[in-house]
Amino acid sequence: MESKNPRAGLNNPVQRGIGKAEAALEWIYPSHFSTTAVIAKHLQIERTNAGNLLGRLVKQGALKRVECDELQGANLFMLTPDGVEEALLLGVPAWEYDTRPSSINHERIRHDIGVQWIASHTIQSLADKGVQVTRMEPDHILRDGSPGKLPDAVLTLEGGHKVSIEFERSEKTGERLDRFLASIADDLANGSYAKTIVASRLPRIVKNYTDRLNSVITLYEKNPVSHRWQAIGTTTVPSELKARISFKHFPELGAVLSPVTWGRKNQKGVAA
């Protein structure tokens, strides 16, 4: 889960290549699928090199390409049964990996790829400060046995600290926003996470969410009979909890999610 290739210092290029391939498999296994852009970001290599690396893994039978209509036609890469076995041999924690392309929920592809990119960015930010992330768990892994509200991803740092990640593609308003912010504050208050990152491509979301967090928010509770949310009071989030919620604007996500429109020529960053 180290952001930089852990074997980057090796002199032998063959060993370096193996290291990158292993790092790619270790990333794709918990993520279920990924794209060239995310792998390039995670391994901190050029997109072309990432494409070559993934292409080699496809030829070797560890990965398969999955075409999709989202991400402006960028290929997805997921593990084959052989790839799953290789990943497990590398020691990644097991989950019920489904190798069928039909197991990919196409409605969530843009969301999931965005989450992966943000997770990768966060891992690199921490690595720059000498802190390693030992584990990345997207929500489909967290969901096992936990029916409640879950973040989009959780990063476990060395020492056991946890950072949760939320990726907002569209803006929540009113009751939904209040419930969202209240649940984040709850998780932070009960010690589930040390920090929560709420990231978006839209600067408006960052501004509006920050404003809302600084105002009085309404608390809601689900009625056990009607199953509808009903207001039960208001509250303000304590300042120490506010300090642990970070709203981030990532324009670079454009190059990942809309590579043709925002990729290669128009924006910095890499295309998918």
Partner: protein
């Protein structure tokens, strides 16, 4: 309580085989010294947990109270079950707290004395990876007693290997140059704040 723990721990561990009891008992004896070392380390850790007080109120932290209530004062059969569940969790993966939570729920659901309030303490579960060593005291004591008394505890080779791994991990965590100690020296909270 230790007796209960021994009985339940023995029952939980699969692969019991009378034929290899002698070999396993010998292996267990070989590990006795390490187990005693663990006990000493755990005692130090326990002292630290006890002093984990709230700076504002001066009261003992809720976690310590919970742990004590759960593990020390209650004599219900749930306690060894809980300890077993957590011990299994240590052996498999220290950090996967959600998995541990699920495991705990299963264990507690099946126990006669349900600790209904445990579900409220999600924060408690998140802290367990560090504090969990306290539970090893039970295991260490149980193993030590068995070694000294009658060598009847039936461990498989695999179980002993896991125990060895656990011991090594614990030792590595306490050596000055270990990754765990290095992590403690890093400014991890500072790095998190900067995100």
């Amino acid at each position: 309580m230790k007796v209960l723990f021994i009985l339940l721990f023995s029952a939980v561990i699969s692969g019991c085989n009378d034929n290899n009891t002698a070999d396993l008992a010998k292996a267990l004896n070989d590990n006795a010294h390490s187990i005693l070392e663990i006990k000493a380390e755990i005692s130090a850790l326990r002292a630290r947990i006890v002093t984990d007080t709230d700076p504002k109120t001066g009261e003992e932290a809720q976690f310590s109270q919970d742990m004590r209530n759960l593990l020390m004062t209650s004599a219900s059969a749930s306690i060894p079950l809980l300890a077993i569940a957590l011990l299994i969790q240590i052996i498999t993966s220290i950090t996967h707290t959600r998995k541990m939570e699920s495991l705990l729920k299963i264990v507690l659901t099946n126990s006669e004395h349900k600790l209904a309030d445990l579900g409220k303490h999600t924060a408690l579960l998140d802290h367990l990876s560090e504090k969990i060593l306290d539970l090893l005291d039970f295991a260490g004591s149980a193993l030590q007693d068995q070694v000294e008394v009658n060598n009847q505890l039936r461990f498989t080779k695999e179980d002993l290997n896991k125990l060895d791994e656990l011991i090594n991990r614990l030792k590595a965590g306490n050596s000055p140059n270990s990754p765990l100690q290095e992590a403690k020296q890093k400014d991890i909270p500072g790095a998190i704040d900067s995100l």
